[in-house]
């Protein structure tokens, strides 16, 4: 069963709708108990980094998530700010991130020449996955996704970058370290490409 972590941030229902159309079982989890038995976890997130981290801490699900992801090594997919939360920290806030993927979150304002473009980076952009990543199965040619963000994930280890997008400069729009995945774009709002990606995640 795929569990979508509901800590009061992000569009939980959109993920459930996609999986319902795909006939793939998925449910929300609002408590540590509800996370028990999850075989995969989706961590959504929008808005401010510190606010999202604070809400996740207050949800009481941190320890259960750490156990599932770091001990049991079940696949986890962070979305948008949910991906940024995988990092150690963010330029946007003062709180530490989950630290599951070795990297930090930087502002586009500090990335020339993206800094000279309109911000936030908003709209449909091409995504170039690295070869062979199963999250991007059948998405290697012409896939585009919807982005809405002003901060981006900077991997400390280049092998953790699973896909890139160019906005003035190329940046990692997806990360993958072992069982941990993250995408900066919104697959739940990216039509057939996004549906495919969520289907791929379910098939991992």
């Amino acid at each position: 069963m795929i569990s979508v972590v509901d800590y009061g941030i992000g569009n939980i229902q959109a993920f459930l709708n996609v999986y319902k159309r795909l006939n793939i079982p998925a449910r929300t989890a609002t408590t540590p108990q509800a996370l028990q038995g999850a075989s995969k976890v989706i961590l959504p997130g929008v808005g401010d980094f510190d606010h999202a981290m604070q809400r996740l801490d207050e949800s009481g699900m941190r320890d259960a998530l750490d156990a599932l992801v770091l001990r049991d090594r079940i696949p986890v997919l962070g979305i948008c700010v949910g991906m940024q939360m995988l990092a150690r920290c963010s330029d946007e806030g003062a709180r530490p991130g989950l630290g599951w993927v070795d990297g930090l979150v930087r502002g586009f304002k500090s990335l020339p020449p993206a800094a000279s473009l309109p911000l936030p980076h908003m709209g449909w952009n091409d995504v170039l996955p690295v070869a062979g990543n199963r999250l991007f199965d059948q998405l290697d040619v012409g896939a585009r996704f919807y982005f809405l963000h002003s901060y981006y994930f900077q991997c400390n280890r280049s092998e953790d970058s699973a896909a890139t997008t160019t906005y003035g400069a190329a940046f990692s729009c997806a990360v993958n370290a072992g069982n941990i995945f993250g995408v900066q774009f919104h697959p739940e709002k990216s039509h057939h490409w996004g549906t495919r990606l969520l289907q791929n995640f379910a098939a991992l």
């Binding site: 808005g47 936030p120 980076h121 709002k189």
Partner: protein, 264 residues
């Protein structure tokens, strides 16, 4: 490559979908949820839905309706109408809406934009400016309450304020051109592109896909929104929801994009 966004803009009045001409004479064109379902199938880039009754009636946003729309909508959704507080913005984003459109409240009290951005992040705060050319002049003024109240504020000043208070996007809607289907106010679109670094969406006047192309040609990678074009078909304005497919959109963008110009 980031692509220009081609965005249907739907208006809701008395629970139904309507389309206006110069903000007047709303004509019933169908059921909002049904329209969302059709735009899902057509894979539109985004969707803007504006409740045009709420502010003039002094009513709260209709949260039940917003939840229904958000559940159905499979593309990014921007919702506006009657939004006056940061708390409301937070609640709407919590319902699964990517962007919240604010107009009169933000024009009257620009610092409100900062409060909203603090709650949900700048990227989700969209400020809509309904504008009319000042009589006999070249400048545009911002109007509110469905084009019935002139705030007297100059568009240029209002845009600069929205940007400085942390808006994530602006929508510039020409009241003069609304529903006319004779093309956008390109001079206005170009002017606004030059005075702000924010992502912007241009609305008001589209009568053909080429009209949309001309905005892309003039402004580069921006959002281009249309109402009538995507709900009416033919000279007699028969109601038929339509939207270009991927191939047609890509070809349109290619045809109107100058290779050397990226983001003006």
């Amino acid at each position: 490559m980031l692509r220009p966004r081609i965005t249907p803009c739907l208006l809701i009045s008395k629970g139904g979908l309507v389309k206006t001409v110069q903000f007047k004479a709303p004509k019933y064109v169908g059921d909002p949820i049904n329209a969302v379902k059709i735009f899902n199938e057509k894979e539109s880039d985004e969707l803007i839905v504006l409740d045009i009754d709420a502010t003039v009636n002094g009513a709260e946003p209709d949260f039940k309706r917003i939840a229904d729309l958000a559940v159905e909508c499979r593309m990014p959704l921007c919702y506006g109408g009657g939004i006056r507080t940061a708390e409301q913005v937070k609640r709407i984003v919590g319902l699964g809406v990517e962007k919240v459109a604010v107009s009169s409240a933000a024009v009257q009290n620009p610092p409100l934009i900062s409060q909203m951005a603090r709650e949900v992040g700048s990227q989700s705060v969209v400020i809509v400016f309904d504008v009319r050319k000042r009589a006999g002049g070249a400048v545009h003024e911002v109007w509110t309450h469905n084009g019935t109240r002139n705030t007297g504020r100059l568009l240029d000043e209002a845009v600069a304020e929205a940007e400085s208070f942390g808006a994530g996007e602006i929508v510039v809607n020409s009241i003069d051109n609304d529903g006319q289907m004779k093309g956008y106010d390109l001079a206005l679109a170009k002017h606004v592109r030059q005075i702000t670094r924010l992502p912007m969406t241009v609305l008001g006047g589209a009568g053909s896909l080429d009209d949309i192309g001309r905005v892309i040609e003039a402004c580069g990678v921006v959002g281009v929104a249309a109402g009538s074009l995507f709900v009416f078909k033919g000279t007699y304005r028969a109601v038929l929801i339509n939207y270009p497919n991927q191939t047609v959109k890509d070809e349109l963008v290619r045809r109107f994009t100058k290779p050397t110009v990226q983001h003006s």
